[in-house]
Structure formats: C-alpha cells, structure tokens
C-alpha cells in the first residue's frame, strides 16, 4: 500500500482526499454523485482524525479505500489488556476485508481478531446491515468507522477465537 500521511498539510493527503471522494461518488447512485462527492470530502477529514487511524490510501485501481490502524488493544473477561495488533483494512463496492499485519494467531489462515479470520470479514457485533447499506451507497467513511468500532469490540460470550491467545500488552 502506498501510505499517505494523515495530515491535511500534505499534498498527498489532499490528493487521496479527492480520490476518496471520487470513489465514494462512483459507488453511490448516479443521481447522487455530486452530493456524495462533497459529503465524502468532509467525511474523509473526520475519518483521518480518528485516533486509531495510522494511514490511508486508495487501492486496487482506485476501487477501494485502504486504511491502516495503530495497535488495537482489547480487554477480556479476565481484565487483562491484550495486544490484538495493527490492522490493514479495505472497504469498497465489493465488500470489505480486515488483516492483522502484526499479530496473526494460528498462521496466515488463522485469526486476525477474536471476531475475524485473517484476510476475511467480521462477525460484526453490531451494525452489519448498516455496514452493507453504507458500502452499497458509497459511504465508505461510515463503513470504515464501523470496522474501527468492530476492531475495538470484544464479545466474550462466543468469539471465533478466545482473546486469551493474543499476547498480554507490554505497557
């Protein structure tokens, strides 16, 4: 991924911002192109200000929005804080994907997160319909925010993989 600094002083930031708005507008219904484009510009700014966001770019021939995260930490039922990892995520008209790029459990085909397979999708704790409607209507920042929310959520009842498998946070 061509990483872009998350700073609106950077020319790369402004270029990616426009590309992002164009992508959102292309996915939206044609009659909503202009409205979606302009809304997406401000949504991009808001998204890049999220504390968890580390990098953003437009990938796969400008058809998906790719974002990287800082380290995600989660606390399980044992009150132990664990390092889940840094994530690379992509959202676009065809769906979304999450990949843990720093701590993979059970290898490349294992778990990215207690509620996600590596390179796959979430068992969403909430918002699965909202996520799909957002994706189908070019609201990629909203979809990305739902994924950030899911990354920072742990449902101890029935995860794919228990949080106990992730390392205890060092700090």
């Amino acid at each position: 991924m061509e990483e872009v600094a998350v700073s609106n002083d950077d020319p790369d930031y402004r270029r990616t911002r426009v590309q992002f708005a164009q992508l959102c507008a292309r996915i939206a219904p044609p009659e909503e192109y202009d409205e979606r484009y302009h809304q997406a510009l401000s949504e991009y700014d808001e998204f890049c200000e999220k504390p968890l966001v580390a990098a953003v770019s437009i990938g796969e021939e400008n058809m998906e929005f790719v974002f990287g995260t800082k380290t995600v930490y989660l606390t399980g039922h044992d009150n132990v804080r664990r390092e889940i990892g840094e994530f690379m995520c992509a959202v676009g008209c065809s769906g979304y994907m999450v990949e843990n790029i720093s701590v993979a459990i059970d290898g490349e085909s294992g778990y990215a997160h207690p509620h996600a397979f590596q390179g796959g999708q979430f068992c969403m704790q909430r918002g699965s319909n909202q996520l799909r409607v957002a994706l189908h209507n070019g609201r990629l920042a909203e979809a990305a925010c739902l994924i950030l929310d899911a990354l920072e959520t742990y449902g101890p009842g029935t995860p794919y993989c228990s949080i106990d498998k992730w390392p205890v946070a060092k700090e």
Binding site: P29, E32, G95, H115, F117, G120, Q121, F122, C123, M124, Q125, R126, G127, S128, N129, Q130, L131, R132, V133, H136, N137, G155, G157, T158, P159, Y160
Partner: protein, 227 residues
C-alpha cells in the same frame, strides 16, 4: 413542512380497503402487525413458516410461554384479531403467492427477497406499495417503493445483499444481539407510519413519501431520501 393536522384525519380506516401483507412475522413483522391492527387496517395477512422460540420473547411480540412451538403467523393473527381481520399463512413465501395492496417485507433474512419481489410483486398490478425493513441493534433501514416504477426497483436491487454478508460467518461466533426489542418496535412504527402516509395521500392528503429512510439510534439521527 410542519403540520398540525390531527393524526386521525390522515388515515380513515373505514374507507381504506387495501389489504396489508406482512411477510415475516418476527422482530419487525410481529410489531408491525400489532401496530397496524390497532390502527384498524381492515385486513392484515401474516406470512411466516417459522415457529415461536423462547429467544423470540425478547424482541418479538410474543409474551406467553405457551406460544412456544406454535406458528408465528397463527399466534400473531389470533392476537391481532381482537382489533381487525387477520389471516395467518403459516408457510414461507418461496414462489408465487397472490398478494395485493401493501406488501411489507420483514423477513430478517434477505436471501428470499429477490424471489418474493420477482414472483409476487414486480409484475403484479394489484400491489401498490412495497416496504422493506431491515435492522441492527441500533439501526433501521426502511425502503418505500412504488413497485411499478423501474427506478424504484433498480434502487431496491442496489440495496439488496445476501444474508451471508450480515450473518455470523461461523457457528459459535455470536457477538452481541442484532435484534433488540426497542429497535424492532421502532422499525415497525416507522414502517406502519409510512403506510399511513401512503393511505393519506391516496385519500387526498398532500404529502410525498420518503423512499429511503435510515434511522440511527447512536448518535441519534435520521436520513431520508426521495427517489
């Protein structure tokens, strides 16, 4: 536009003749039947092949353990019958079924929806309005279509996605509750309110239906679009 029109003048149940078909009598559908029944919609048809389970007590309009194991459509039809005429159709809509009037899709599972609209709605001149409601724990998505308008049908397909994209990927990863009683009831209220708006328009009231309605509970906001 703000209005001070009395609510009861918007919808005259005595002169409204179109039946209301509710497909899926679960979280949204059971509450929609309750609300429409209390509003005295003249005839309500309830379609669902599912039976009541203990877990349904939490977010659906079933409150008696003795209902467990019985047909959802039959149980709700019996309850609604105290207010209006209700017919139970205790099987899933899996192909052509004679529908007319207003059709409300409340299935939860989106997989059967294309078959339902293609075999029962699109080419059926007797169906005048189609509503499709979906929900998460804190989110409601409602579409209100004139099924005879091609642009509305295209928009509906744009917003359709298979159930596999929203359900749990693997058995055992349950996560949080996806259907909450408050949200289900809210979705049903929104849905029936749009049917009442439609009925009021048909009876001469000046209004324009919103076709795309999204209700977010946190943070609280509502988005509407007219197609």
């Amino acid at each position: 536009m703000f209005t001070t029109t009395a609510y009861e003048t918007l919808f005259d149940a005595k002169t409204w003749k179109e039946p209301l078909h509710i497909i899926g009598v679960g979280g949204i559908g059971s509450h929609a039947a309750r609300i429409a029944g209390k509003e005295r919609f003249p005839v309500i048809h309830l379609h669902d092949g599912d039976v009541v389970e203990e877990k349904n007590m939490y977010n659906q309009w079933f409150d008696d353990d003795s209902d467990i194991g019985l047909s959802k459509a039959e149980v709700v039809a019996k309850k609604v019958s105290q207010w209006t005429v209700a017919h139970a159709h205790p099987t899933y809509v899996e192909g052509h079924r004679k529908l007319s009037g207003v059709v409300c899709l409340c299935t939860g599972n989106t997989d059967p929806l294309p078959t339902i609209v293609e075999s029962c709605v699109w080419d059926n001149p007797d169906v005048s309005l189609l509503l499709d409601a979906r929900m998460d724990a804190e989110y409601v998505f409602l579409q209100v279509l004139d099924p005879r308008i091609e642009a509305h049908r295209k928009r509906w397909y744009r917003n359709w996605y298979p159930h596999s994209e929203t359900e749990n990927r693997t058995a055992g990863c349950g996560g949080g509750a996806t259907a909450v009683g408050i949200t289900a009831s809210l979705a049903a209220d929104l849905m029936v309110a749009q049917v009442i708006r439609y009925a009021a328009i048909r009876q001469g009231y000046k209004d324009t239906l919103d076709n795309h309605i999204e209700f977010f509970l946190r943070p609280l906001r509502i988005v509407t679009k007219q197609w």
